[in-house]
């Protein structure tokens, strides 16, 4: 018997998640696996990784479509209804009361909030609220359960308390719904159909160009 089994993963949420609707479970697992294997993330710069060979890590998930466009047997997020969407903001601006301690290297200077290190930000965070979010996958249940213990938050802005997960539940599932559920796609799958395909990521890290291709994507799901 294969060590890989179909499963359902459920996160019971404590608050909203700063994320789009897709929020693939393989990206969450990939993040934990990378941190476990390679330690904490110190700092990165835009494009800083591109000159170096990417770090690799093994994942307890079944691989599908062997070849250059392989991907994991893991679905996008299935949000339990009702789902509420809202927009919150994070802000950064120069605080005038500390203007006397700005160091211009002994010369006269001007604080520019339009550009440079003092530039101001007012950035939206698109948040989704639901009681639970569910994924389907095929993999090693025990290993995945262990990995998810290290993931108390999901989505972005977790340091600010967004995306809290109250409880993870990983259970054996009688059907393999990692790609198709009731005949409908629930994850992006790469295709050679450039006309009807949607250009997006299909495996973690989803934002990397090397992991993007034309894909068939679930209907009513904004892939990114």
């Amino acid at each position: 018997m294969s060590e890989f089994e179909p499963m359902r993963i459920t996160a019971q949420l404590g608050c909203g998640v700063v994320s789009d609707a897709t929020l693939p479970i393989d990206s969450i697992l990939y993040y934990i696996a990378m941190r476990k294997a390679h330690g904490p993330q110190d700092a990165t710069e835009p494009g800083g990784h591109s000159g170096t060979s990417p770090l690799k890590v093994s994942m307890p998930l079944k691989l599908i479509n062997p070849g250059p466009k392989w991907y994991y047997a893991a679905s996008f997020a299935q949000w339990s209804e009702p789902v509420a969407e809202m927009t919150d903001y994070w802000n950064k601006r120069f605080d005038q009361q500390y203007s006397d301690i700005v160091d211009f290297g002994g010369r006269r200077g001007k604080v520019l909030v339009e550009q440079g290190k003092y530039r101001a930000y007012h950035m939206p965070m698109f948040t989704r609220h639901a009681l639970t979010v569910t994924w389907y996958a095929v993999g090693n249940i025990e290993a995945i359960t262990k990995l998810l213990r290290f993931m108390p938050y999901i989505g972005k802005k977790t340091a600010q308390g967004e995306g809290e997960v109250l409880r993870w539940t990983v259970e054996k599932w009688p059907h393999d719904w990692s790609v198709l559920k009731d005949g409908k796609l629930i994850r992006a799958i790469p295709t050679d159909d450039n006309q009807n395909g949607f250009y997006c990521g299909f495996r973690p890290s989803y934002y990397m160009r090397s992991n993007m291709a034309y894909c068939y994507i679930p209907q009513n799901n904004d892939a990114s």
């Binding site: 609707a21 494009g47 698109f126 160009r209 990114s224």
Partner: protein, 249 residues
């Protein structure tokens, strides 16, 4: 993804106010006056809400007036559809907008603004006039959108004036319209508007503007975060070419 809805009731009510009706009457008079000065005019059309109103105001009186869209290969899909539907002339800019961005980078500030204006506005206008022999232009500039520079200029020049540099007669018939007037006119006249606005109704009114989707202004105010949320594929292509945009989402 949920789409927000146009607050139609609000605009329908505003369309009945005396203030709005007076502004519409004024605008029609401005267009009429402008048309009496020109023989071969065009409408500068961006697919935005303001130029949609100007297009309707001009074509009420001169239905065959051509609309011109300056095409920098960076329009939203809904804009492209609307441009084709109204039969606007797609006039190519000097270079695609993304090429200008690539040449200067996002932090070039005023240099990038100048280069963008030069390649997508100033030079194409010169070529357009030379090619088609236009002697008048109507456009949807509104003082409210930039009270500082454009607002002063609009009030100083008036709604109809002649450019000294090339003798072109300009008409800005909605220069004194407010946000409510624009949408009240669109709703009351049942005009087709660009579908991108249906993704913007929950944004502040000042931010409900359509431009090139890759424009870098307001990137620190969520412009690209909005693009990623509403047009993920466009965003992915954009980030392919300019990876640094992912720092702003």
């Amino acid at each position: 993804m949920k789409l927000s809805k146009i607050p139609r009731n609000r605009f329908e009510l505003w369309a009945k106010t005396g203030q709005h009706l007076w502004r519409v009457t004024q605008a029609r008079q401005y267009v009429s006056e402008w048309l009496s000065y020109v023989s071969n005019p065009y409408i500068a059309y961006s697919s935005g809400k303001d130029s949609t109103c100007v297009l309707a105001l001009v074509r009420e009186q001169a239905p065959t007036t051509p609309a011109v869209y300056f095409d920098a290969d960076c329009s939203f899909p809904e804009s492209a559809e609307l441009i084709d539907r109204i039969g606007a002339i797609r006039f190519k800019t000097d270079e695609p907008f993304l090429d200008t961005l690539g040449r200067f980078g996002f932090d070039a500030g005023d240099d990038l603004d100048r280069a963008t204006m030069k390649s997508t506005v100033w030079n194409p206008i010169k070529r357009l006039i030379a090619e088609f022999g236009f002697d008048g232009v109507a456009y949807g500039l509104r003082a409210e959108e930039n009270l500082g520079t454009r607002g002063r200029l609009a009030k100083k020049r008036g709604a109809v004036f002649q450019y000294k540099r090339d003798g072109l007669w300009a008409c800005q018939p909605i220069c004194d319209w407010r946000y409510n007037d624009v949408w009240a006119f669109i709703v009351s006249e049942n005009l087709s508007y660009c579908g991108v606005y249906d993704k913007m109704w929950d944004m502040p009114e000042d931010d409900q503007r359509i431009s090139y989707w890759a424009g870098e202004t307001k990137r620190r105010h969520g412009r690209w975060a909005w693009l990623k949320r509403n047009y993920p594929e466009l965003f992915n292509r954009f980030a392919d070419k300019f990876p640094e945009v992912r720092c702003y989402v």
